[in-house]
Amino acid sequence: MADSFKSILLVDDDLTLREMYTERLKAEGFTVQTAKDGEEAIQMATETKPNIILLDIMMPKINGLDVLKKLKEQEETKAIPVIVLTALIQDREKMESITRGADDYIVKSEMMPGEVIQKVKALLNHDPDETAKPEASPAPQ
């Protein structure tokens, strides 16, 4: 319901992926805007203030992490939740640093579009339905 009027800014340098995610997101009822590089992303985010941003990490020119930093620094954009996307499975450790600014992350080749939708919804609704499976507790601090 409320989802239908939510707007998403999708940032990825690859055209094919942009088309695919846009397709899926639109099918879910979201309004989708796309940006193909960091500069565009910051500009559009500042101007249009989407409800959520999907941000690719590995981009030419401005790196995704720098974009994330900028977004979180700017008054206008810091409240917008950001999900970072990465193609590199190896980058798990990078996830750590990303999560300092990002609100969630997705490994593109592991997560199917359907799952991406779930993550987006969860973040937008703070959906309590997304129950966690019995998690292993972290090691004592």
């Binding site: 094919t16 992926l17 590199l88 199917m112 579009p113 779930q118 998690e135 292993a136 972290p138």
Partner: protein
């Protein structure tokens, strides 16, 4: 005889004596003959000038005056030749034309003294005193006289300043005495009478002033051994004594007396002979001793200098050792050179680069700025192909010889312009320059040029030796610096290569995964989420395509892992981990797959009893995933158990299945690359890399992995890890990234696409 006459006699006698001694006993090399003649002339002059003012017949006096003047001229001439001889160590007569004209001129003027041109008249004043009127050429006479004396004094003083030791003392007295006597005599007998009427006493002062000369010469003789007077005196004395004894013998009365006198005579002769001999030998010995003493002083000085040189060389060596970078090291050496060696005030180093000789650096000193101003501070641009005859620096290299010159232009022009080179030479006061070739075996390294502020004659062999020694040091240093530079370059190249490799892996995985994500994504949307309409056949085909793309994803991941393993570039990040948590998360992930094949999957462990350890959780998790995945793949019935245990400082994880088991032959091939047990039914082909990667991951932890299995009876894959109390500092074959300071476990529930409710959580 009056007092005056007595003094005169004394003066004249001593003059004559002095002249005889000088003539016969003096060192002709040092102008003793001229000295003797000068003394003789001086004595005669004193005698004649005395009688000018005496009460004698007047008509003699003009002759006396003429003689006076000409003798004075003679004195000055002999004085001049004497001092000339001292300075140039050879007689004036050797320069035939000069001598001839000089002698002719002087003789001419002397003769003129007998004509009215110099002395126009002599007048009697009061019977004994006279008055002299000078003629037209008197000025000429006086000038020549003065010139002789002045030049003589100049030469004497110059020689005095240059001499050392005993000779110095001798010369001092002689010069001083002569100077005083001549000055007074000239003043009283030549200058003053011209200006005003003087009494005869004043004129006599001129004569008496000769006492200074005589006295000082005597001192020089007796105290400083000017002539071999001691031996002469002894000889004279002995001769006189023997003569006296002979006289007595001859006048002896009676045979007894005669015999006695003769006996005494013979004894005295023998004694006299030995006396003379001993005096001679003593003189000789003393000379020896003095010579030795002098030599010793010089040797000590030389040793001191050598010590200084060695210390300097040591300092330079230290500089070489302290620096590895070429430019600062070379500059330090060059700057040190003028500090350590007084006569050398700078050096220039040129280096060989691919057939060119180029300037490299010069010593820093007060003139460096000006020099840079003239030639430009980027002296490296003065680089020219090595060619014979280009300049002395190039020749040094080609001939492999030290070159020398008094002009720096020979070394640096071309390419520097000659006027600039001359300016630099003047600025630094260069008197002598050498260039030394630097070689490493047969290979030319460069040329080092040293500039000195003293002429070659004043340099010692040691100075040049030092220059060569420093050049050798510099050669070694340059070789070392080159080697170091090569090493540095090689390392930088390797570092760049590594970076490229990492970039390649990143790019490869990114580039490969991106289109794959698109393929999988669309297929998932169709197949999992039923977006778009497909009929059953299309659905079947698409499903197969989907499965293939998933295999492709796995393969890419495995290949990237293998690539990293092979290059030793696996990134590992250690954290404090409880294996129980890892095993549990694997369980969640693979539960669905197990369910699909109706296999049981359980974790057999007590979390409290599982010790924590430091390991890379992501890698170990992958190992467990791989083992459990394999178990599921190769089992058709029964169940799979993950068992955790520990003993003796090692953590053990077992994945036990009830599958088909593995034959011994196959077991051997298991952990190798691309090994797979052949099966008839292939439902899901793996990459054959899983166990290879797992083995590597376990071994990077210094653990062990193996299998216990029997064909038909199931398999037990086991790996063990050492329990670590803290993160290791380094891992061979992997890149260790900083351990996570706050323990974090990344748990991701990786569900197969069918389970749409999957989500990833992070536990913090």
């Amino acid at each position: 005889m009056s007092t005056e006459q007595a003094i005169l006699t004394l003066i004249v006698t001593i003059c004559v004596f002095l002249s005889l001694v000088s003539f016969f006993r003096g060192d002709p090399q040092r102008g003793s003959r001229s000295f003797g003649l000068m003394s003789l002339a001086a004595g005669l002059w004193a005698l004649i000038t005395f009688f000018e003012e005496e009460a004698i017949q007047f008509h003699v006096k003009p002759l006396l005056v003429s003689l006076d003047f000409s003798l004075a001229l003679a004195i000055s001439t002999f004085f001049f030749t004497f001092s000339y001889h001292l300075v140039f160590r050879k007689s004036l007569l050797e320069k035939k034309w000069l001598a001839a004209s000089y002698v002719t001129g002087v003789t001419g003027i002397a003769l003129l003294c007998f004509t009215p041109l110099v002395i126009s008249g002599v007048r009697d004043i009061n019977g004994s005193n006279i008055d002299i009127d000078t003629g037209n050429l008197f000025t000429l006479y006086a000038s020549v006289l003065a010139l002789n004396f002045l030049t003589g004094i100049y030469f004497l003083v110059r020689t005095y300043l240059r001499s050392k030791g005993q000779e110095r003392s001798q010369l001092m007295y002689v010069t001083l005495g002569l100077f005083i006597s001549i000055t007074i005599a000239l003043a009283t007998n030549l200058i003053l009478p011209e200006i005003l009427q003087v009494s005869s006493i004043v004129l006599r002062i001129g004569i008496y002033s000769m006492i200074f000369f005589l006295a000082s010469t005597t001192i020089a003789i007796t105290r400083h051994g000017l002539f071999d007077i001691k031996v002469l005196a002894t000889q004279l004395f002995v001769a006189l004594l023997l003569l006296a004894m002979l006289g007595r013998a001859l006048t002896a009365r009676g045979t007894l007396d005669l015999v006695f006198e003769l006996f005494l005579l013979i004894l005295s002769s023998i004694f006299g002979y030995f006396l003379v001999k001993s005096v001679q030998s003593e003189i000789a010995r003393r000379r020896e001793i003095e010579k030795l003493a002098q030599e010793r002083i010089e040797t000590l000085k030389e040793l001191e200098q050598r010590n200084k040189n060695l210390a300097a060389l040591q300092k330079v060596s230290k500089l070489v050792l302290n620096q590895i970078e070429m430019k600062p090291m070379i500059q330090a050496i060059l700057d040190e050179i003028p500090k350590q060696f007084e006569s050398c005030n700078g050096a220039l180093l040129n280096l060989v680069h691919g057939g060119h000789l180029a300037a490299y650096a010069i010593s820093s000193n007060e003139f460096t700025k000006k020099i840079y101003g003239m030639v430009g501070s980027d002296i490296e641009r003065y680089s020219y192909p090595i060619k014979k005859g280009f300049n002395l620096l190039h020749d040094t290299l080609i001939d492999k010889q030290i070159k020398e010159s008094t002009r720096v232009s020979d070394f640096i022009c071309p390419p520097i312009a000659k006027p600039i080179a001359a300016t630099i030479q003047g600025l630094m006061g260069m008197k002598y320059i050498i260039s030394v070739p630097l070689f490493a075996g047969k290979e030319p390294l460069g040329v080092m040029m040293f500039v000195y502020r003293v002429p070659k004659e004043q340099l010692l062999d040691k100075d040049v030796e030092m220059a060569v020694a420093i050049s050798d040091e510099t050669s070694l240093a340059i070789q070392r610096a080159y080697a170091f530079q090569q090493l540095k370059d090689a390392n930088e190249y390797l570092a760049d290569l590594d970076k490229l490799k990492d970039e390649f892996i990143s790019i490869a995985s990114h580039e490969l995964n991106t289109p794959l994500a698109a393929v999988e994504g669309y297929l998932s949307m169709i197949l999992d989420e039923n977006m778009g309409k497909v009929d059953d056949k299309a659905r079947m085909y698409l499903t197969r395509a989907y499965d293939s793309s998933k295999r492709l994803a796995e393969l890419i991941l495995d290949l990237l892992n293998v690539s990293r393993i092979e290059q030793g570039r696996v990134k590992m990040k250690f954290a404090k981990v409880n294996l129980y948590d890892l095993a549990e998360s694997v369980l969640h992930e693979l539960q669905v797959k197990a369910d699909a094949k109706k296999l049981g999957l359980k974790l057999d462990a007590n979390k409290a009893k599982v010790p924590e350890t430091w390991c890379d959780p992501d890698r170990i998790r992958e190992v467990i995933v791989n083992l459990v995945g394999n178990a599921i793949k190769y089992s058709d019935k029964g169940g799979i158990t993950i068992r955790l245990s520990s003993e003796a400082g090692r953590l053990r994880c077992e994945v036990i299945d009830t599958g088909r088991g593995i034959s011994e032959a196959d077991q051997k091939k298991l952990f190798q690359k691309f090994s797979q047990v052949k099966r008839e039914i292939d439902e899901h082909q793996g990459t054959g890399l899983g166990l290879y990667i797992s083995k590597n991951f376990v071994e990077l932890h210094k653990g062990r992995i193996w299998v216990e299995s029997e064909e038909g009876k199931g398999s037990d894959f086991i790996f063990e890890l050492p329990i670590l109390a803290e993160a290791p500092e380094k891992i061979d074959g992997a890149i260790l990234e900083g351990p996570l300071s706050a323990p974090k476990i990344v748990l991701r529930d990786k569900r197969p696409p069918a389970a749409v409710t999957a989500s990833a959580r992070k536990a913090e």
